[in-house]
């Protein structure tokens, strides 16, 4: 066991990474930060619309889209990947709805059928064509965030060296996500909470739905090669559920996403340094840790706060119970 979990050495875990290889490590943490920010912002709406599992399905099923785009265009350019993934995401939603409508298979089973089949197809293609598409099963599983700083040459804009291309791309995607979420705040809000009202206000709920799905696939693709297909699900859902323990207001929940992203990325990075494990899963474990804290201490829906409230309300409850039919 001692070999597995090394002693916590503050110098090695916290100081050394920044002292010795600041340039390398900052990009890893930034990549994690931007990925969780973008996913978390989109994920808020997925969770609100009870579509968390559709997000799960799409994050799996973009794989064959990406692989086919690689194979057809013989390049790992972002454009090809985005197009392939967008296509796969739309195909997933359409197939799920098709199976649901044209047979008596229910939604949950339809989701399970579609994404596992597409993911299986993707995995088979990856293992058949590994030599051609520099993508392997490990990358599909948990991404290769360690390789981020090794992407040379760095992107340069107007003579300024910005950073590794995937980090720059991820930063752009999360920035655009933030702008979109703010710009279409009202439309997203009303169509998520009350589709009927949305219709009467002139917001087309199905357009919002498909736009959200499309943008989800863009976000998923841009963090695909650093965090893999499955961990994306956690990055989509966890920030939203953590926030719902802490606040009732959507703006605050959205604003908490970058903070959570920073804590998870940094925490995960140090956790991985300490335990010598893969970095991307460690970042997700850190997010889970944040959720656990919020679950216990969150002021709105946390267990501790609830218990305290229950105790404070003990007398009125006891008085009211007979009237409420609880004896």
């Amino acid at each position: 066991m001692n070999e597995l979990i090394p002693d916590f050495d503050f110098q090695r875990v916290v100081v050394a990474p920044w002292a010795s290889d600041f340039q390398g490590n900052i990009w890893v943490v930034l990549m994690g930060f931007f990925a969780i920010t973008a996913c978390g912002l989109v994920g808020q709406y997925l969770v609100l619309r009870r579509m968390a599992l559709v997000g799960d399905a799409i994050s799996h099923s973009v794989l064959p889209g990406i692989v086919i785009a690689f194979l057809l265009l013989k390049s790992r350019s972002s454009g090809a990947m985005f197009v392939g993934a967008l296509f796969a995401a739309v195909l997933t939603t359409v197939l799920i709805e098709f199976i649901q409508k044209k047979s008596r298979v229910k939604q949950d089973a339809a989701i399970g059928i579609v994404f596992t089949s597409l993911f299986a197809l993707g995995v088979i293609m990856v293992s058949l064509f590994t030599s051609q598409i520099d993508l392997d099963l490990d990358c599909v599983l948990h991404g290769e965030i360690v390789n981020v700083p090794l992407e040379f040459p760095f992107v340069q804009v107007a003579g300024l060296t910005l950073g590794p291309s995937s980090v720059v791309r991820m930063a752009a995607v999360s920035l655009i996500t933030a702008v979109l979420v703010m710009g279409f705040y009202r439309q997203l809000l009303v169509s998520s909470f009350d589709p009927g009202l949305a219709g009467s206000l002139g917001v087309n709920a199905s357009v919002v739905h498909y736009a959200l799905m499309g943008w989800l696939s863009v976000v998923v693709v841009s963090c695909f090669d650093s965090v893999g297909a499955i961990l994306v699900v956690a990055m989509l859902i966890l920030p939203a559920t953590t926030a719902s323990m802490v606040t009732d207001r959507l703006p605050w929940a959205l604003a908490s996403v970058p903070l959570q992203a920073l804590l998870s990325a940094l925490g995960g990075f140090h956790l991985a340094t300490w335990l010598n494990c893969a970095i991307a899963p460690a970042m997700v474990v850190a997010s889970c840790g944040l959720f656990a804290l919020a679950w216990i201490f969150g002021p709105v829906d946390g267990q501790w706060a609830k218990r305290r409230r229950r105790r404070a309300n003990a007398l009125p409850d006891a008085v009211l119970d007979p009237f409420l039919g609880k004896s």
């Binding site: 199976i99 399970g112 995995v123 966890l238 893969a278 997700v284 679950w295």
Partner: protein, 503 residues
């Protein structure tokens, strides 16, 4: 190996080889895509090795092949049985969460004595899966987080813990780490005798469990309220099902892998769900589909060294599902489309017969046939369209067309059907105006639809309720049974009906 064993396994293989030929060719076609570009270099080598592997698989000469096959069969049985209940209970995604949540348990089981000890991994994985399920219900019951989000969180959270542990194990200096990765995407070839023992125990357990508690499972799945009211321990049945589900997931890990094992729970069961309405048949079909997919998937993945088994098993079951989706007798897309088409054709024929009746009625029922020209004028269509419709009638034996294509003569059967349709139409109009108080100018559209589906029984009942009225709300005569069937027996029927119900 005793020779007799070889005999018994080879005999069915003669047939098996013929059937697998197709998927074999398909695989070669898939496999030749990447090699087409550099066929000159490696094509030959690869082809021979694929064939050698295929022969090795089909002759079962290799023990690992026999283990893999037996494993696939056992997994198919257990996942098919339990997956059916998952699908009818709408817990498909709970199965997915459970199967991802086992990963940390697999890693911890591996750490137990640093080897791929099936028992340790089995215990660890089952505990982790159950812990994941418990977390889902804990989160949903103590917070306002909805079930889908809770499932997604647990699924990905446990999975990432598992991945961390896996990468830590791989960083360890000591121990035999080989084979741990095969748990993620599955490697049926890695199944050993001790794995098989566990699989057999679990499968027999699942069979016994489902057999003994079939009624309880059935009732709690389809009518939990009734089950609770009749004193069944609904919660315990649920927990027991989840326990067996965890077992089934864990034994399937080795062959299918953590990521795709939920597909094996969902897809064969959903396939069976499309094919039958009875739960016991659904169980049998799901088991058969699971076994077939397992065998086909392990065959294909055996052909080349680096192919994971899980995805192929999933694709095989997905193709079975697509087949059921398209061709299922009652649920199938194609058959339903065909039924709809033939129904539309029948309605079109009946409408033409009705038009012939109307035309003949307008002429006071004089003469034998109807002029095609008049028919076309009446229905505001071209002569060509009308002739196409009449050809449909002729093909169905309901009319004949004169040689100069000017006159159409309904056959006795066709005339009878036409009068029936008109009678149905007018009776329904009358019923709507009399009984439902709908004004006479609003009843035609409705009657246009119902005239094709009213059965004989219902028509009798309508006639009785309308006291054998002879005129519809628009003043037209309703063809009576006597007009439609000139034969004595049917007249007898009517009188009996009249006597029975008459005032």
């Amino acid at each position: 190996m005793p020779p007799s064993f070889q005999e018994t396994v080879r005999t069915p293989n003669g047939r098996l080889r013929g059937r697998i030929g197709l998927s074999h060719l398909l695989f070669l076609a898939i496999a030749s895509i990447p090699f087409a570009a550099r066929a000159a270099r490696v094509g030959d080598v690869v082809e021979t090795s694929v064939w050698t592997q295929a022969v090795r698989f089909l002759t079962l000469s290799d023990p690992s092949v026999r283990y893999a096959l037996l494993g696939a069969v056992l997994i198919g049985v257990s996942t098919g049985l339990l997956g059916s209940f998952i699908v009818v209970r709408r817990m498909a995604m709970a199965g997915d969460a459970l199967s991802h949540a086992v990963l940390p348990g697999v890693a911890l089981g591996f750490l137990w004595n640093m080897s791929k000890d099936p028992m340790a991994i089995f215990v660890g994985a089952t505990l982790a899966g159950l812990l994941g399920t418990a977390f889902v219900s804990w989160i949903t019951s103590t917070t306002r987080i909805k079930e889908d989000a809770a499932l997604g969180m647990v699924l990905a959270g446990f999975f990432s813990v598992g991945l961390c542990l896996m990468s830590m194990i791989q960083g360890l200096p000591t121990g035999n780490k080989s084979g741990i990765n095969s748990f993620i995407f599955g490697q049926a070839a890695a199944i050993g005798p001790s794995d098989l023992k566990l699989m057999a125990i679990v499968t027999v357990g699942a069979l016994l469990g489902v057999g003994l508690f079939y009624r309880q499972l059935l009732v709690t799945s389809f009518d939990p309220g009734f089950a609770r009211a009749s004193g069944l321990p609904v919660r315990w049945v649920h927990h027991g099902l989840m326990l067996f589900l965890a077992f089934a997931v864990v034994i399937a890990l080795q062959a299918v892998g953590v990521v795709l094992v939920s597909a094996l729970l969902i897809i064969p069961a959903a396939t069976a769900y499309l094919l039958t309405d009875r739960m016991h048949r659904m169980l049998a079909i799901a088991v058969a589909a699971g076994v077939a997919a397992g065998v086909a998937g392990s065959f294909v993945s055996f052909l080349a060294p680096a192919l994971p088994t899980g995805p192929f098993i999933v694709l095989a079951s997905a193709s079975l599902f697509s087949a059921a989706f398209l061709f299922s007798p009652r649920q199938g897309l194609l058959l339903r489309w065909w039924h709809q088409r033939s129904r539309n054709a029948r309605v079109a024929r009946e409408n033409t017969l009705k038009a012939i009746y109307h035309l003949s009625e307008a002429h006071g029922f004089k003469g034998e046939g109807a002029l095609v020209r008049e028919l076309a004028e009446r229905r505001r269509s071209t002569l060509e369209e009308e002739l196409v419709r009449i050809r449909g009638l002729v093909a169905a034996g309901w009319a004949t067309l004169s040689d100069d294509r000017a006159v159409v003569y309904p056959t006795p059967a066709g005339w009878q059907r036409g009068s029936e349709i008109v009678r149905n139409h007018r009776l329904w109009e009358l019923y709507l105006t009399n009984a439902a108080q709908i004004s006479p100018d609003h009843v035609h559209e409705d009657a246009e639809k119902i005239e094709h589906v009213l059965g004989e029984e219902l028509v009798r009942e309508l006639e009785r309720r309308l006291q054998f009225a002879t005129v519809d709300p628009h003043g037209k005569a309703i063809p009576a049974i006597g007009d439609i069937r000139g034969s004595a027996p049917s007249r007898g029927d009517t009188t009996i009906g009249f006597r029975r119900s008459g005032p």
